[in-house]
Symmetry: C2
Subunit: 126 residues, 2 copies
DNA sequence: TGCATATGTCATGTTTTCTTACATGAATTG
DNA sequence: CAATTCATGTAAGAAAACATGACATATGCA
């Protein structure tokens, strides 16, 4: 499962291909990068190079936008995901204290309603 | 298994990416196309666009060349593969006659020695 | 009405790729 | 040995793709 992950994160696609695969304009893709939602690599000539993971992320962003969530909201979604991933990794790195467990469970429940079944209220631009 | 095949045959990679993934020069890749060993698609602007299957094929070609097989030999290899695939499909399309079976078995045995265990003598330039 | 957001469009410069042509070292053949 | 063929390198000029920056605009909200 490690090699597959590597392949999915290989930056091999130019923006033209990504436009076709996602049906997004170059302007949109660059804007999402500007907003920090994706961070495509650059080749030696400064061309953006995208991975399959980037494609997935872009399609997700598209869905969120179609659902009426704005940039700020999407950023928050990914912030939460990042923090959850970080916690999970920390949990793997060392044995969990009771306090960890409580905090993780708390966050899980906190995020359940907002991110899965129901997008919830549209996030205001903080 | 059908969707995976589709993804593998999607022409999404520019030649620059292919160069890096295969460690072949643009000259080599174009030459192999000229020889009919690969047939990359073209985008609207006439740029070659490669699929993952093309990458596999190029790496195969590289291996064959490293083994001392020349273009003519490699062409023959792929010709045989194509014919075998055609026969297999024909076999699926209609019931086999005894004669079919005999002929297919014959070809299988014929190709066994040459293509699998031992590359055999280097093919002369036809 | 005025402002912020998300996207379109245009201009200009750089990078990538295309085709065509010629060059070349290694192997082959007469 | 001289002449070919093969597989690849290299260079030139044109076209396509992409980058950045600026300005335009529709939409929704305060």
């Amino acid at each position: 499962m490690k090699e597959k992950e590597l392949r999915r994160s290989l930056a091999v696609l130019p923006i033209g291909t990504v436009m076709k695969l996602t049906d997004l304009s170059a302007r949109q893709i660059r804007y999402y990068e500007e907003q920090g939602l994706i961070v495509p690599e650059r080749n030696a000539g400064n061309r953006r190079m995208f991975s399959l993971n980037d494609i997935d992320r872009l399609l997700e962003i598209k869905d969120y936008l179609a659902d009426g969530i704005n940039m700020a909201g999407i950023k928050e979604v990914y912030e939460l995901q990042k923090q959850r991933a970080k916690q999970k990794q920390a949990a793997l790195a060392r044995p969990l204290t009771d306090d960890d467990v409580r905090r993780i469970l708390h966050d899980e429940f906190l995020n359940l309603g907002r991110l899965q079944s129901d997008p919830g209220p549209h996030y205001p631009a903080h």
